[in-house]
C-alpha cells in the first residue's frame, strides 16, 4: 500500500497554471527531459561545428587563415569535453532518463520533482559558464579534453588565464546538477515503480539508465576532486599536481606535485564515464531491436546481469588509459587483464542483440535501422578496444589516429546512432506526430555510411603513426604524402555527415507541425510508456488510476496470442493473451492494488 502511494504521488505533484510554470519553470519530468534534450543537442551542434573547423584545417592545411594553432587546440578540447559530458551524459541521463524512467516504471513523476527541475537549471548554468569561455580574454582552454597537468595550467597553453578556470568551474557545476538528477533517477526506479513492476519486469532501457546513474554518482566525484585540486593549483598556487618546473626560462613556485595523480583521478572517473554513456545506449538499443523485430529480447536475464557486471568492472580498468605513463609492468598486466574480462559481458550483449534479430519479424523502420547500425559500429569499436587494451599493442598506437578512430566508433558514433534511433522511436510519444520516413532514411544512410567514411580510414592513419592533436603535419618524414590525401577525403566525409544532421533537424521541426498524427502506440510496443491514456502524456501521466503490471516488457509474438504483442498492463487471459503460464491474483494482492 505504501509504495502504491509513492508511485501515485498525486498529492505531491505541483499543478502548473501558467505558460511559464508549465513549459519553462516546470517540475514535470517530461518537460525537464525535453529541456535537457534541447540544451544538450544545441551545445552538441556547437561541438559539431568545432569538429568541422578542425577537419577543414586537417584536410586542407594552409587554406583557411581563420584557424591558427592555438584555436585548433581550443576546438579539439571543447569538442571532446562537450560531446562526452555536456551532450552524451546530459542527453542520455537528463534527457532520456527523465523522460523514460517514470513512464516506463509507471510513476506519475520523479520522486523529487523540485530537485529535478533544479538539476536542469544548474546544468544550464554549467553550459553557460563553458560557453562564456569563448568570449573571455585568451579564449577557452586548449589543454585537450583530458586537461592533463602540468601543461593545462602552464603559460603557453591557450586559455591558461580564464579558459581553464571556467572549464573546471563548469565541470564542478555540472557534477552538482548531475548529482541532483541522479539521486532522482535512482530513487524513482527503486521506490516509485507501480504495482507489479518488479525489477526483472523493467525494460532494459531502465536497467541501463539506472546502472549508468549509479556509476555516475560514484565516479563523478573523482572528476570533482581533480577539478577542485587543479583549480587550487591554478588559483592559489598549491602543488597537488604540479611538479617543480621551469616555464619560459623561469623557475615556477610549484614544487613536488604529481601529474600522474591527476591521471589516476581523471581516469577513475573517465573510464566509468564510457559506460555512463554506453549502458543507457545498450538498454535503449535492446528495446528498439526487440520492438521492431517483434521478438522478445534474447537472454533478458543475461542482459541485466551483463549490465550490472559491466557496471562493477568499469571501476577497475581505468589505468588502461595510462599505459604510456611509465607505470609498473605488473600494474599494466593487471589492467590489461581486467580490460579483457570486461569484454566478456559486453560480447554477451552483442551476441544477444544478434540472436534477437535471428528469425525475428524484422521491420526496417527508421529507429530499427539506427539500432542495427549500432551493432555494426559498436562491434567495430569494441574490437579495436581489445587491441588497445593490451599493453604491447597500445604503446605504439597510443596518441595516434587509431585511438581517435577507436573511441569515436565505440563512444561517439555508436551512442549517437542510438540517440537518433531513440529520438525517432519516441518522437511519436513525445509529440503525438509521426516523423517523415523518407527524410529519416536519408538521414540514416548519410550518417551511417558517412561516419564509416570518416573513421575507417583513421585506423589506417593510426597504423602509419600519425599523431593526434597536431595542427599540421608538414615536414614529418615518416608520414607519406598519401596520408594527406586520406585526410582530405575524411574531411569531405565529415562535412557531408554534418550536413546530414541538417536534414534531421528539418525533419524534427517539420514533423512537429506537419507530421501525421501517430496515435498512442504506433509501433505496437509492449512497455508502459506506450499505454498512457493520452499522447503526448499529460501531467501526471496515467489519468486517475496507475497501471497494474502483469508481465515483462517483451511479450512479442507470443504463440497463440491474437496480436503480436501483449502490453505490460494487459491482465492474463485478457484479449490477445497467449497460453503462457498464468498466476491467479490472490485475494490479498487484489486488496492491495485496489487500495
Amino acid at each position: 500500500m505504501a509504495y502504491v502511494a509513492l508511485a501515485d504521488q498525486g498529492q505531491k505533484l505541483s499543478h502548473p497554471h501558467s505558460f511559464f510554470t508549465k513549459y519553462i519553470y516546470s517540475q514535470d519530468h517530461k518537460v525537464i527531459a525535453i529541456q535537457y534534450g534541447l540544451v544538450a543537442i544545441s551545445v552538441g551542434l556547437v561541438a559539431l561545428v568545432l569538429s568541422g573547423i578542425m577537419r577543414l584545417q586537417l584536410g586542407f592545411p594552409d587554406t583557411f587563415s581563420f584557424i591558427n594553432p592555438d584555436q585548433y587546440l581550443q576546438f579539439v578540447t571543447l569538442h571532446g569535453m562537450i560531446m562526452v559530458i555536456y551532450l552524451l551524459t546530459a542527453l542520455f541521463l537528463g534527457g532520456f532518463g527523465n523522460y523514460l524512467i517514470p513512464l516506463m516504471v509507471g510513476a506519475r513523476d520523479m520522486v523529487f520533482p523540485y530537485m529535478n527541475m533544479l538539476s536542469f537549471w544548474v546544468y544550464l548554468v554549467s553550459v553557460i559558464i563553458l560557453m562564456t569561455s569563448f568570449f573571455v580574454p585568451g579564449g577557452p582552454t586548449g589543454a585537450g579534453w583530458t586537461l592533463y597537468p602540468p601543461q593545462a595550467i602552464m603559460q603557453g597553453t591557450p586559455g591558461v588565464d580564464w579558459g581553464i578556470v571556467l572549464m573546471l568551474v563548469s565541470l564542478a557545476v555540472f557534477i552538482i546538477a548531475f548529482t541532483m538528477g541522479g539521486l532522482n533517477y535512482v530513487t524513482t526506479v527503486l521506490q516509485a515503480r507501480t504495482n507489479g513492476m518488479t525489477l526483472m519486469r523493467m525494460p532494459l532501457s531502465v536497467w541501463g539508465i539506472f546502472t549508468a546513474t549509479v556509476l555516475g554518482l560514484l565516479a563523478f566525484p573523482a572528476l570533482l576532486v581533480s577539478a577542485i585540486m587543479m583549480l587550487l593549483d591554478r588559483l592559489l598556487g598549491t602543488s597537488f599536481f604540479m611538479p617543480a618546473i621551469v616555464s619560459m626560462g623561469e623557475q615556477t613556485s610549484y614544487d613536488g606535485g604529481s601529474p600522474i595523480l591527476f591521471q589516476h583521478l581523471f581516469w577513475f572517473f573517465g573510464h566509468p564515464e564510457v559506460y555512463i554513456v554506453a549502458l543507457p545506449a545498450f538498454g535503449i538499443v535492446s528495446d528498439l531491436l526487440s520492438t521492431h523485430a517483434r521478438k522478445n529480447i534474447f537472454g533478458y536475464r543475461m542482459m541485466v546481469w551483463a549490465i550490472v557486471a559491466i557496471g562493477g568492472l568499469s571501476f577497475i580498468v581505468w589505468a588502461h588509459h595510462m599505459y604510456v605513463s611509465g607505470m609498473n609492468p605488473y600494474f599494466g598486466f593487471f589492467f590489461a587483464t581486467t580490460t579483457l574480462i570486461i569484454a566478456v559481458p559486453t560480447a554477451i550483449k552483442v551476441y544477444n542483440w544478434v540472436l534477437t534479430l535471428w528469425r525475428g519479424n524484422i521491420h526496417f523502420t527508421v529507429p530499427m535501422m539506427f539500432a542495427i547500425a549500432f551493432i555494426f559500429t559498436f562491434t567495430h569499436g569494441g574490437l579495436t578496444g581489445i587491441f588497445l587494451g593490451n599493453v604491447v599493442v597500445d604503446l605504439p598506437l597510443s596518441d595516434t589516429y587509431f585511438v581517435i578512430a577507436h573511441f569515436h566508433m565505440v563512444m561517439g558514433v555508436s551512442p549517437i546512432l542510438v540517440v537518433f534511433g531513440a529520438i525517432y522511436h519516441w518522437f511519436p510519444k513525445m509529440t503525438g506526430k509521426m516523423f517523415n520516413n523518407r527524410l529519416g532514411y536519408i538521414h540514416f544512410w548519410g550518417t551511417f555510411l558517412g561516419t564509416y567514411a570518416i573513421y575507417l580510414p583513421m585506423h589506417y592513419l593510426g597504423f602509419l603513426g600519425v599523431p593526434r592533436r597536431y595542427f599540421a603535419y608538414e615536414g614529418i618524414e615518416f608520414i607519406p604524402e598519401s596520408a594527406q590525401t586520406l585526410n582530405a577525403g575524411i574531411t569531405v566525409a565529415a562535412l557531408f555527415v554534418a550536413a546530414m544532421q541538417i536534414i534531421f533537424l528539418i525533419n524534427i521541426v517539420w514533423s512537429l507541425f506537419k507530421g501525421k498524427p501517430s496515435g498512442g502506440n504506433p509501433w505496437n510496443a509492449t512497455s508502459l510508456e506506450w499505454q498512457t491514456p493520452e499522447t503526448p502524456p499529460v501531467h501526471g501521466n496515467w489519468g486517475p488510476k496507475l497501471p497494474q503490471v502483469y508481465r515483462w516488457a517483451y511479450d512479442y509474438s507470443v504463440p497463440g496470442a491474437s496480436r503480436d504483442f501483449i502490453p505490460q498492463d494487459q491482465p492474463p487471459d485478457g484479449p490477445g493473451d497467449g497460453d503462457g503460464p498464468d498466476i491467479e491474483p490472490k485475494d490479498e494482492d487484489v486488496t492491495m492494488s485496489a487500495s
Partner: protein, 220 residues
C-alpha cells in the same frame, strides 16, 4: 587509490547482494500475473531516506578519493608532516554535541514532544555553528603564523579536507534551518519527523567522516 577502491568494492558487493535478494535470478517471462514485492521492505521506506542513502554514498566516494589523493601525495619527496591546531579537539567536541542534540531532537519528535524537539534543534544549530566558527578560527590561527595553503602540501590538504567537510556541514545547516523554522512556526510533529530524522542521519555521518579525517591528519 586503496581507499576509494575499498569503498567501491564494498558498494559493488553490497549492490550485487541487494540485487540478489531482490530476485535478479527470476525468469520474468515465466511469471505472468499479479505479483507483489512482499519481501521488498525497502520499497516501504520514504524516498527521502533512499535519496539520502545515495547522497551519502556520493559523499563517501568524494572523501575516499580525497584520502586516496592524500596518501599518494604523501608518498612524494617533499612531504612535511604538519602539526594540527589544538583547537580541533574543541571543535570535534562541538560536533559531537551537535550530533547528540540532533539525536535528542529526533527522539523527542518520535515521542511527540514539540517543545523539547524545538530546543534540541536549536541546540544542534548552536553546537554545529560553533564547530564551523571554530574551524574558521583554526584557519585564522594558521594564517596568523604565515601558514597558507600553498606553504606546503600537508597544509594544502589540511585546508582542503576541513574546507570540503565544512561546506558539507553548511549544506546540512541549510536543511536544518528550514526544519527548525518549520518546527518553531508551530508545525505538528508528524510533519517534521522525517526531516529531523534525515538531519540526524546526515549529522551522524558527517561526524563519522570528520572523525576519520581528523584521525588521519593526527596520525600522519
Amino acid at each position: 587509490m586503496t581507499a576509494i577502491l575499498l569503498f567501491i568494492v564494498i558498494a559493488v558487493v553490497g549492490s550485487y547482494w541487494w540485487l540478489w535478494r531482490h530476485r535478479i535470478t527470476e525468469k520474468p517471462w515465466a511469471t505472468v500475473g499479479v505479483t507483489v514485492d512482499h519481501e521488498d521492505s525497502s520499497r516501504f521506506l520514504p524516498p527521502g531516506k533512499i535519496g539520502l542513502l545515495f547522497f551519502l554514498a556520493v559523499v563517501t566516494s568524494l572523501f575516499a578519493l580525497f584520502v586516496s589523493a592524500y596518501f599518494i601525495r604523501m608518498g612524494l619527496a617533499d612531504w612535511i608532516p604538519q602539526k594540527e591546531p589544538g583547537l580541533l579537539w574543541f571543535n570535534t567536541f562541538m560536533l559531537v554535541l551537535g550530533s547528540v542534540a540532533i539525536q535528542w531532537a529526533s527522539y523527542s519528535a518520535d515521542h511527540n514532544d514539540p517543545k523539547t524537539t524545538r530546543y534540541a534543534l536549536l541546540a544542534t544549530g548552536l553546537f554545529t555553528g560553533a564547530f564551523i566558527v571554530g574551524q574558521l578560527w583554526a584557519w585564522q590561527g594558521l594564517v596568523d603564523q604565515g601558514l597558507y595553503m600553498y606553504s606546503n602540501p600537508s597544509l594544502a590538504f589540511f585546508y582542503l579536507f576541513t574546507g570540503v567537510h565544512g561546506l558539507h556541514i553548511i549544506g546540512g545547516l541549510w536543511v536544518w534551518c528550514r526544519t527548525t523554522l518549520h518546527a518553531w512556526s508551530g508545525a505538528q510533529m508528524f510533519e517534521i519527523r522525517l526531516s529531523v530524522e534525515l538531519c540526524k542521519t546526515y549529522w551522524h555521518y558527517l561526524l563519522l567522516i570528520w572523525i576519520g579525517i581528523f584521525g588521519l591528519l593526527l596520525s600522519t
